[in-house]
């Protein structure tokens, strides 16, 4: 989330697409209800089915699962054709005026630079035309045309690209009636005014597609066109599904990152040494130019005194990926299925329920020599060897089920969707012999290290040199101090990541959290001042990285001169009379002031800060056009899901050209499986249900696995309310209850009736509330950038039992 | 030994009821009293808290109430009908047969209860008071049984009926109670009517008593028989 949960009350319009906020983030509706009551805000819900969110919407539009880009492309087209974009914002704060190089081209669904052999694009072809720079170290600058008239400026390319997304075609693809499309577009485009803001709220309904990343980009582009980024009540709100999925991502429990969103190193020439790595990973412009300070400080935190300039601060003790390999979820399970992976530990993760094509993933686990499962309950993962149909005697895996304790039995912090890190105070002693994961990890690694004691082998030095002394008993505060980091010259805790250095004199385990523990007795995650300063900002409550900022890109809330675009939407603004930078008295008075911590050096003159309001971008502007970072191309283009009932109406390219097809033989055809299926979550259960399906109160609230289908489909198939049905896909078959509901309606897709159904994916064979897992049916195919599996759109058939 | 004929006079006593009639009366009496006591605990538990305790608590009392409801509803009447058809016939005939004498008798009952003399016509086997008591017993019994069944299995009946069952049960039980007061008083405490108790207990009642109180019957059955 660029803004926060409490900020939702400042919105004038919330577009809920790819999420079911009322159901899965019910508290968001506390704030949306407030916005509606107090500001007359509108709530729009776009979803294949009529959800609990839809029940409270002003406008509900059905949309076939997997057609977000068509839907949003249509909105971009509508906004541009009807001049509903906010020109001042677009010209000043986005890259609309940038001139794109001549290498860029787009024909029949394909951008220029594609290599069909590797299924990859050469992104260089999409570069901007750059201003020549005399100083090679200076921040790069693109050529621009602020009049937006150059035929190759981003704005005109954008206009051209989305001119194909007319209402008729979009309606034919999405199955949304034309008048509903227009109603949504018109209502949401209202926010493209200085005194209005709109927020797009999305979740896994957006990302779990082969085009998931581009779906998100299409939202961001609409937000940029309407000037909704960096203002209260605006932003792109990724509603994160777990209490600390933000934190676990920040700390890079992902193969491709190091803590703080730094790319993980590869075993190749680019990353052969620390110097080469830093050179490669440090851009010339934007805030990321500080990357070396973050990396070196992290290495110093991890390897302590053993990290010296001579040994590249222990850089080589980090694992280097095979640059040709992908280690993401699907690849991981393919590797396990093929026998490469021999040992696995899971920390509250439950693949036999949550993995795509989970039958295969559970089968893959049989190849493990050992499995360590850390959980509160006996999950389907822990019990995979006795799952229905398995023969325990033939499964040679050694399984350890380590009892972890719950959130109320331990202390520590979690970071919510708004990057707010809040402290949890332990309330009760851990149950039985269960332990906090912190203790488990601490003790486990100590045991492993014990076994390597005295080793001189190079490969073991990382283990032996890792800083691992947090006292006994270990406390979260001791770890948090290491994360925050210290100035080694003074021994004091760091107060801000601005002070980090790349010479080994500072440490910080994760730079974005630097400054959260500024003093030995002050863990800002414990701050509990419940007062609202203004505009939904509660600065005294806990800590939001970076530097306790609550609204990212907040420079955009004021015009280039630093004056708020509107009184109602002001967050930070230039006060020429405020005391200036004490370090630079020659600059005189003047500073940005307001309700939030500025996204930039607040003493920078407004014109300067306006030049780069998107500080993490190399070129400083909001990216309507993504010359880098997106594998499929600079503009989101609609491709059909891997399994789709129709031919792509926008081009001859059916599937996202950069995705990897893992199991071509497991693709279902629309003849055999004519029904579009999606998966979803219920308010009453959490993810794979290991926690909630084991709690009597919640188990009774939703005890059964079911499939939702329309009355029309039920009539066609002769299915009665509440009976058992078999649902099948090219991957498998499950038996579930039929929930016949008015909330699903058949859609008119490409001139014919297509049925759509959906089911919750919380269920498995363990716990009190049991049921067959929806993911038996989902495919092993992922997004072109993130490899997030396409859980949300696949084909099935259904018949009564 | 063969049963004597009804109306047989022996040692100054008249054979008034056969053992089945006697049994039916007492099964009914005992079960009714049991239901009355256990019912009181449920009807007025606040006032009858000590009683509930005596009986082993409200829950045990509730069970007992149902236990006694079975003989109450299922035994007395069938017993009489199947095993003493004669007695049943007489009882039914008498209870539904009212003539001027009965009415007159009924009217003169009150002074009689108070021990005052009234010049009353002669009665058949059952006098008017007993007839009235019988009628009330039969109809409240049906009412109590039917409403009791409904209250026992409320799920099986429409809600309006269940709701109605409560006042019906209460009304029937209270009506029966009021009659019962008089009935017990006469049979146990009234100096002159007490003799009737012997009749319904042993089957044999004092001949003089019978002659006085059931003149018509005495003349018809005993004297002629």
């Amino acid at each position: 989330m660029t803004n926060g949960w409490t900020d939702l009350k400042e919105t004038d319009c919330a577009l809920i697409i790819g999420s079911n906020a009322a159901e899965n983030h019910p508290i968001s509706f506390k704030w949306l209800t407030k916005a509606r009551d107090e500001r007359g805000a509108k709530i729009i819900v776009v979803d294949p089915r009529f959800t609990r969110s839809a029940s409270k919407a002003d406008v509900y539009a059905p949309m076939r699962s997997g057609t977000d880009i068509a839907f949003m492309g249509g909105m971009i087209n509508y906004i541009l054709q009807n001049n509903l974009y906010w020109k001042d914002y677009v010209v000043n704060y986005t890259n609309a005026a940038f001139i794109v190089g001549e290498g860029y081209d787009f024909k029949d669904g394909m951008f220029s630079g594609y290599d069909p052999k590797t299924r990859k694009y050469d992104a260089k072809q999409w570069d901007f035309e750059m201003e020549p720079q005399a100083d090679p170290k200076a921040a790069p600058k693109a050529k621009t045309d602020p009049t937006l008239s150059h035929p190759r400026c981003v704005f005109n390319l954008l206009k051209k690209h989305y001119s194909r997304y007319d209402l008729d075609t979009v309606s034919r693809v999405c199955g949304t009636p034309k008048e509903k499309l227009e109603e949504v577009y018109r209502t949401y485009a209202e926010t493209g005014k200085p005194d209005k803001s709109g927020v797009i709220m999305y979740a896994m309904g957006t990302t779990q597609h082969t085009v998931g990343s581009q779906n998100v980009r299409s939202y961001a582009m609409v937000q940029l066109l309407l000037g909704n980024i960096g203002v209260p009540g605006g932003g792109v709100a990724a509603l994160r599904g777990e209490s600390n999925v933000q934190g676990s991502t920040d700390y890079a429990l992902l193969f491709h990152l190091l803590p703080g969103y730094i790319n993980a190193p590869n075993a190749n020439a680019d990353h052969a040494t620390l110097e080469a790595y830093l050179k490669k990973e440090t851009p010339k412009g934007g805030f990321k130019t500080n990357t070396p300070k973050w990396v070196v400080s992290m290495l110093k935190a991890w390897f302590g005194d053993a990290a010296t300039k001579e040994n590249e601060f222990g850089y080589h003790w980090l694992p280097k990926k095979d640059p040709k390999k992908n280690y993401s979820w699907i690849a991981l399970f393919e590797a396990m299925y093929n026998g490469t992976i021999k040992g696995l530990w899971t920390w509250g993760e439950n693949p036999p329920v949550s993995g795509p094509n989970c039958t295969k993933e559970a089968k893959a686990m049989e190849n493990l020599d050992w499995l360590v499962c850390v959980d509160l309950f006996e999950s389907e993962t822990a019990a995979f060897w006795k799952r229905p149909g398995a023969d325990p005697a033939s499964i040679k895996t050694e399984v350890f089920l380590l009892p972890a304790c719950s959130s109320i039995e331990k202390s520590g912090t979690v970071s919510n969707s708004a990057r707010m890190t809040q402290y949890r105070w332990q309330a009760v002693q851990p149950m039985g012999e269960s332990k906090p994961d912190l203790d488990i990890i601490y003790e486990l690694f100590a045991k492993i290290r014990e076994l390597y004691k005295g080793s001189k082998a190079a490969k073991d030095q990382g283990i032996l040199n890792l800083t691992w002394d947090y006292g006994h008993p270990i406390t979260p505060e001791a770890v948090a101090k290491e994360i925050n980091g210290r100035d080694l010259t003074t021994g004091k805790l760091m107060t801000s990541f601005a002070n980090l250095k790349d010479d080994g004199t500072t440490t910080s385990g994760c730079w974005i959290y630097c400054g959260m523990f500024p003093d030995e007795n002050k863990y800002r995650a414990m701050d509990r001042d419940p007062a609202e300063k203004a505009k939904g900002i509660f600065p005294g409550w806990a800590y939001s990285w970076p530097v306790n900022r609550r609204i990212l890109y907040n420079r955009c809330s004021a015009d280039p001169a630093g004056k708020p675009w509107s009184e109602d939407k002001k967050i930070v603004w230039w006060d020429p009379n405020a005391p200036g930078d004490p370090a630079k008295p020659e600059d005189g008075p003047g500073a940005f002031v307001g309700y939030d911590v500025t996204d930039f050096n607040k003493f920078l003159k407004p014109e300067k800060s306006a030049a780069a309001p998107f500080i993490m971008q190399v070129l400083g502007k909001g990216g309507l056009y993504a010359n880098t970072g997106m594998n499929e191309g600079p503009f989101p283009e609609h491709y059909e899901p891997w399994e789709s009932p129709m031919k792509n109406a926008f081009s001859s390219v059916q599937l996202n050209p950069v995705v990897k097809v893992w199991e071509p033989d497991k693709q279902g055809s629309p003849d055999q499986f004519p029904i579009v299926c999606t998966t979803f979550r219920l308010s009453e259960h959490y993810q794979t249900g290991t926690l909630t399906r084991n709690q009597p109160w919640l188990a009774e609230l939703q005890p059964y696995m079911f499939i939702e289908l329309s009355e029309e489909l039920a009539a066609e198939k002769g299915i009665k309310q509440g009976q058992k049905v078999k649902v099948s896909s090219a991957r498998g078959e499950i038996e579930v209850y039929a929930m016949i509901t008015k909330r699903w309606k058949p859609m008119e897709i490409d001139g014919r009736t297509v049925h759509c159904v959906g089911m919750p994916w919380h269920y498995g064979f363990a716990a009190i509330a049991k049921g067959e897992s929806a993911n038996v049916l989902t495919p092993h195919i992922g997004d072109g950038n993130t490899m997030i599996p396409e859980y949300k759109a696949f084909l099935v058939d259904i018949k009564g039992v | 030994m063969a049963q004597p004929k009804i109306g047989t006079l022996r040692n100054g006593k008249v054979y008034r009821f056969d053992p089945v009639e006697v049994a039916a009366h007492w099964v009914h009496t005992i079960s009714f009293f049991a239901l009355l006591i256990t019912g009181l605990v449920l009807f007025a538990p606040g006032g009858a808290g000590w009683l509930a305790k005596l009986l082993g608590g409200v829950n045990v009392t509730r069970l007992l109430h149902r236990v006694f409801a079975v003989p109450y509803a299922l035994i007395s009447l069938p017993l009489l009908v199947f095993f003493s058809p004669r007695g049943a016939k007489e009882w039914f005939r008498e209870m539904f047969h009212w003539d001027k004498d009965d009415i007159k008798l009924m009217m003169g009952y009150f002074p009689e209860i108070l021990g005052r003399h009234a010049d009353l016509p002669e009665a058949p086997k059952f006098n008017a008071g007993e007839k009235f008591n019988s009628l009330l017993t039969l109809f409240t019994g049906i009412g109590l049984t039917l409403s009791g069944i409904i209250m026992w299995w409320p799920q099986s009946f429409p809600q309006w009926l269940v709701r109605l069952a409560y006042p019906v049960h209460d009304l029937a039980f209270l009506g029966m109670c009021s009659m019962l007061c008089v009935h017990i008083f006469l049979s146990v405490a009234h100096p002159k009517m007490r003799a009737a108790l012997e009749g319904i207990t042993t089957g044999w009642a004092d001949a003089e008593f019978c002659k006085e109180h059931y003149g018509k019957w005495y003349k018809k059955v005993v004297t002629k028989g």
Binding site: H25, L239, F255, W317, A335, G343, W345, E398, E433, S683 | -
Partner: protein, 193 residues
């Protein structure tokens, strides 16, 4: 810890007052005795809901080591006292008869769990880790084009780590450090799925 708890201040005041009143015989006469106020003497700890990403505040009321009540934290700006069905039911995670409270071990081919102690289990796991790691360790990787050149790889592809989104930050950090020190690259968590 700095806990500003308007509610319990208010609460304890009211409680004391009502207790005093009832001692003086001022308890409302017409009213049935209302159930004992179960959180009267409970100790309260603020925490954050472990479910979705909203980060709602919760208050846990504990008496004699038992959770007697759990409800929304009115001070937390996210939820201001509100909780959804999951958050409001959280106390059932604790004291749940289905919780695993001992280390469980399933030997290869076995058809049932056996209880073990922590020490044994951690040692056994450590041995497994070392065995798998040492047998699969890739120290260097040759250049894609020039096989004469090679780069330090320092990884194992035989061990995988999954999960972390339900761990605390401090735990995630330790886990990321441990995984990397061991050379684990098959490293994923819930953000991917």
């Amino acid at each position: 810890m700095r806990v500003t708890r308007r509610d319990f201040l208010k609460l304890s005041g009211v409680t004391a007052a009502s207790a005093a009143l009832s001692q003086l015989g001022f308890a409302a006469p017409a009213v049935a005795k209302v159930r004992d106020f179960k959180i009267r003497e409970a100790k309260v700890s603020p925490t954050i809901c472990p479910y979705c990403g909203v980060g709602c505040g919760q208050l846990v009321y504990v008496r004699d080591g038992k959770v007697v009540q759990l409800e929304g934290d009115p001070d937390n700006p996210q939820n201001q006292g509100s909780l959804c069905s999951k958050g409001a039911a959280l106390s059932q995670v604790f004291d749940n008869p289905r919780r695993v409270t001992k280390v469980l071990y399933r030997a290869p081919g076995a058809s049932a769990w056996e209880e073990k102690d922590w020490e044994w289990a951690l040692e056994r796991i450590a041995e497994n880790v070392k065995k798998t790691r040492d047998a699969s360790f890739i120290e260097t990787q040759p250049d894609e084009k020039d096989p004469a050149k090679s780069y330090i790889a320092n990884r194992t592809e035989a061990i995988a780590s999954l999960g972390g989104a339900s761990l605390d930050n401090e735990e995630c950090y330790l886990l990321t450090k441990m995984n990397r020190a061991l050379g684990i690259v098959y490293l994923e968590h819930q953000a991917r799925i």
